[in-house]
């Protein structure tokens, strides 16, 4: 996997914005977007607007794939047809890499449109690592796994989330998509120290960073992807890239989707922070 094409601050492509992006090629802020991440599940359709639009976007911008429906950590058999469809679309669009969440969303015949958390145990590590190896074999390359936001935790956890992730990344020899907002949300929800969490994460495995906004529900934070990135999360992000270099980063916004312009402004903040991280790197 090369980072040749993917650097700087990108945006998570959302279907209602596609028209503005394709029509706005003379607009500097739109032309300057260095890459897009797509939720690949929205494009695994036979034809119509989504497929045509994806082709047009992929001709103009580098892409990366993000999946939501693999149910990576489930004990159900891996959905090979689904993975093959992703691989074929990846080959077609020349997308740089594919990421999925460290979670499950199916058990037996029940499926859930959500990312459900796991118990942090030795057994889970062994199972998930094996599954990632399987996925990587099918895809013919390393994948990225993303830390999720959670609202409940298993009382029988054998380790912290940071340790859990670090062990999986090492055993499966995969990369990490670090969602700083998710890490922040979890640290608040479970009263843990975010610095500890991040210090456990193998920073050299982090190939991409997600940034998003949450909703404060008074007694916990809901990772709703419906708000600008908060000041606290920007601070943590700035510190992380200062210490670990200008890792490709992007804004995720899913609910109450604002005009593209709002996302471009958020992107510009990330871009400025990445540039200063780059300069610090050069000085060091």
């Amino acid at each position: 996997m090369s980072n040749r094409l993917i650097s700087g601050a990108g945006i998570g492509l959302r279907i209602p914005h596609i028209h503005d992006i394709l029509a706005g090629q003379n607009d500097q802020a739109i032309a300057n977007i260095p890459w897009f991440e797509i939720v690949v599940d929205n494009f695994l359709v036979e034809g119509g607007f989504n497929r045509t639009a994806l082709r047009a976007i992929s001709e103009r911008y580098p892409l990366i794939f993000h999946g939501v429906a693999l149910s990576l950590a489930s004990l159900n058999p891996l959905n090979l047809d689904y993975l093959k469809a992703i691989k074929s679309l990846k080959d077609e669009t020349g997308a740089e890499w594919y990421s999925e969440h460290l979670s499950f969303s199916s058990s037996g015949s029940s499926h859930f449109p959500d990312l459900l958390p796991l118990p942090y145990t030795e057994e889970t590590i062994a199972h998930v690592s094996e599954r990632i190896v399987q996925v990587q074999d099918i895809m013919g390359e390393r994948m990225l796994i993303e830390n999720i936001s959670s609202y409940v935790s298993c009382q029988f956890n054998e380790m912290s989330e940071g340790e859990f992730i670090a062990e999986i990344v090492q055993r499966a020899d995969c990369h990490l998509l670090l969602d700083i907002n998710n890490a922040y949300v979890n640290s608040v929800n479970f009263g843990e120290h975010l610095g500890d969490y991040l210090s456990r994460i193998p920073a050299s495995a982090v190939k991409q960073i997600h940034l998003a906004g949450f909703t404060d529900k008074d007694d916990f934070l809901l990772d709703a992807h419906n708000n600008p990135v908060t000041d606290e999360v920007w601070k943590v992000y700035a510190a992380f890239i200062r210490d670990n270099g200008p890792i490709p980063s992007m804004i995720e916004w899913d609910s109450d989707l604002p005009p593209l312009d709002t996302l471009l402004k958020e992107r510009a903040i990330a871009e400025r922070l990445l540039e200063s991280a780059q300069q610090i790197g050069h000085c060091a």
Binding site: H111, L118, V152, E158
Partner: protein, 258 residues
């Protein structure tokens, strides 16, 4: 650190059971750290909201006709009866028309909504139409080159996005009214049959009213009947040229010689 007295399989099964059946919630929350066990509700809400939103997106005409609250209530029963069984949300809601039919039959208060069974079928077809495979353009030159003696054996192919429907209700008018954003839609009396074609134009799903003859012709084409068979059955083939021109027919092949 405690040795985990549960395994991953139990965790996943109990999580899933608690999400679909209230009676299992306590069993699952017993596995959680006490201070966040109340937040299990968030997962139940997320799952319910995602499925409800999917049904609203797929069945907007039904939602408007029934009203937000009534639709949400019916959707909630539907979600309970037909939980998500695959990872693809685009396929969720496939049984909604049948479900509505049984609900309307069982509830006197819904008796005026009989027409929504066909509206729901229409909306499901629209969803299929929106995502259907793109097709190549009709090769008019190749058709012109077919020898007169072999024309009768030709089998025409409908574009993958084309779906035809017949109904006792004027689906085309109902769809137009919905598109024009009219808040009130009079509930029509069932009449003789109406025919529509659902198709995609510039990525948008559209409807067109069909005559009975046009419907029967498209129906025979969708069943891959040869020109000769259609003529033998007394099907009016006059509209064929128009359907080719509209690109609803995307190709042809030679059937068996008779």
């Amino acid at each position: 650190m405690k040795e985990a007295p549960i395994n991953l399989a139990q965790w996943q099964q109990q999580f899933a059971l608690a999400l679909v059946d209230e009676r299992h919630v306590d069993d699952f929350t017993g596995l959680l750290n006490e201070k966040d066990s109340r937040r299990f509700e968030t997962y139940k809400n997320n799952a319910r909201q995602a499925l409800l939103q999917t049904l609203i997106t797929t069945y907007p005409m039904c939602e408007r006709a029934l009203g937000e609250q009534c639709f949400a209530q019916l959707a909630s029963h539907y979600i309970h009866r037909f939980p998500l069984r695959e990872n693809n949300l685009n396929q969720y809601g496939a049984y909604f028309a049948d479900f509505l039919k049984s609900e309307i039959k069982a509830n006197h208060s819904l008796k005026d909504y009989d027409y929504l069974v066909d509206v729901a079928t229409l909306e499901w077809h629209q969803q299929h139409c929106y995502y259907a495979q793109d097709s190549a353009n009709f090769d008019a030159q190749a058709l012109a080159a077919v020898d007169d003696s072999r024309q009768a054996e030709l089998v025409f192919m409908l574009r993958p996005d084309i779906v035809i429907m017949q109904s006792q209700y004027p689906l085309y008018e109902l769809w137009l009214k919905h598109r024009e954003n009219l808040q009130t839609v009079e509930i029509p009396e069932p009449r003789s049959l109406y025919y529509v074609c659902i198709y995609r134009d510039q990525f948008r799903v559209k409807l067109e009213s069909l005559s009975r003859e046009q419907y029967l012709l498209l129906e025979q084409i969708s069943r891959q009947q040869s020109l000769q068979t259609m003529i033998d059955k007394g099907i009016h083939i006059q509209a064929l040229a128009r359907f080719i021109q509209k690109t609803w027919i995307c190709g042809f092949k030679h059937g068996k010689q008779q």
